[in-house]
């Protein structure tokens, strides 16, 4: 039994393949999906998507998203997603440092909201490349 995984952004299809299993980060922890999973809709946190295919685990950084699991078909809608192979480690670390600094110094409701979004986003990108 095979699972079809689609990762869609508003402008293109980022990922489209068969997988054996996926693991998503959600607010209450992590959730895994195997073939024949019950149809369900999940709000997904900014975090790492792990996909198991061909005896390998690949990772992808997902920004705010949600997943719809249907009949052996998983559709993840996200504003932006990056495969771990596409992330430049140096740039990702730099963005993380900037985001961390901003979060520490931030003042004002609006800047706080922005910093609270930027930090987990850059942290996820760094974690994605660090995952083996």
């Amino acid at each position: 039994m095979i699972l079809n995984l689609f990762v869609l952004t508003p402008s293109r299809i980022v990922w489209d393949s068969e997988v054996k299993e996926i693991i998503l980060s959600i607010t209450s922890g992590q959730i895994g999906a195997l073939p024949n999973h019950a149809p369900i809709v999940i709000a997904v946190d900014i975090g790492i998507l792990r996909m198991h295919l061909n005896d390998q685990w690949l990772t992808m950084a997902l920004m705010d998203s949600f997943a719809r699991i249907g009949k052996n078909e998983i559709i993840i809608l996200v504003n932006d997603a990056e495969k771990n192979s596409d992330i430049d480690p140096q740039e990702a670390h730099q963005s993380l440092e900037i985001a961390e600094a901003a979060l520490r110094k931030v003042e004002g409701k609006r800047k706080t909201i922005k910093a609270n979004l930027a930090f987990p986003q850059s942290r996820t990108r760094v974690e994605t490349i660090n995952v083996i």
Binding site: I40, V41, A43, F66, R68, R110, I113, L117
Partner: protein
Amino acid sequence: MKLVAAAKVRRAQEAVVNARPFSETLVEVLYSINEQLQTEDVDVPLTNVRPVKKVALVVVTGDRGLCGGFNNFILKKAEARIKELKTLGLDYVVISVGKKGNSYFLRRPEIPVDKFIDGSNLPTAKEAQAIADDVFSLFVSEEVDKVELLYTKFVSLVKSDPVIHTLLPLSPKGEICDINGVCVDAAEDEFFRLTTKEGKLTVERDTIRAETADFSPILQFEQDPVQILDALLPLYLNSQILRICLGFTIDGAKPRLLERFWRLLLVLRH
């Protein structure tokens, strides 16, 4: 030359088509959630309706001056709307998208601008994201109570209307309403095809409605429906902005196409 502009329109069309799987899935889940939430009060930050004291006006203009009166219509409409808001005693701030609008507002420091965003030839999700992020933080932090989007709506190859849509607060059903309260369903999608009829360039307009009846009723939710809605609506906001900007690109290409078409006619006549 005509081919260049036509290619632009075709690329924009492709982008609209590529965006469809995203928005269709989004709409399906939105409908499903609304079915479940019918009697409940939805209290999600992006749908929060509150008394309006300050409005953010997102003004989308093109990049090139060749579009003639095109950008001027939008900017005139922006000035008119600003005047209206002032008369109503409301505060406002502008978010300018596109080179023409940016240089216009830069020359007028008396108009408060929150952000200048550069347009580009083909709007990408990253640009829509920049607009969405700015608008999101302004609205959720309650710095503004309403966000309006000013752009041109494609009517035909020779006609476009500058339109003002209320972007935020979103309706939980995902309807898009203009400032006169005329709303369009989230499931409706308009698209245009650039074709030729009897050797002339025309655009055909169709409205398609997503099949809402076929939506699976057995959709379960891992979390509270309101939590799912909370995750969904920012995505919806992004895709709406991108859709509008792409429609705008098609508009921008139009006057240049026409210009070349007339020039060609003149050349042929002689």
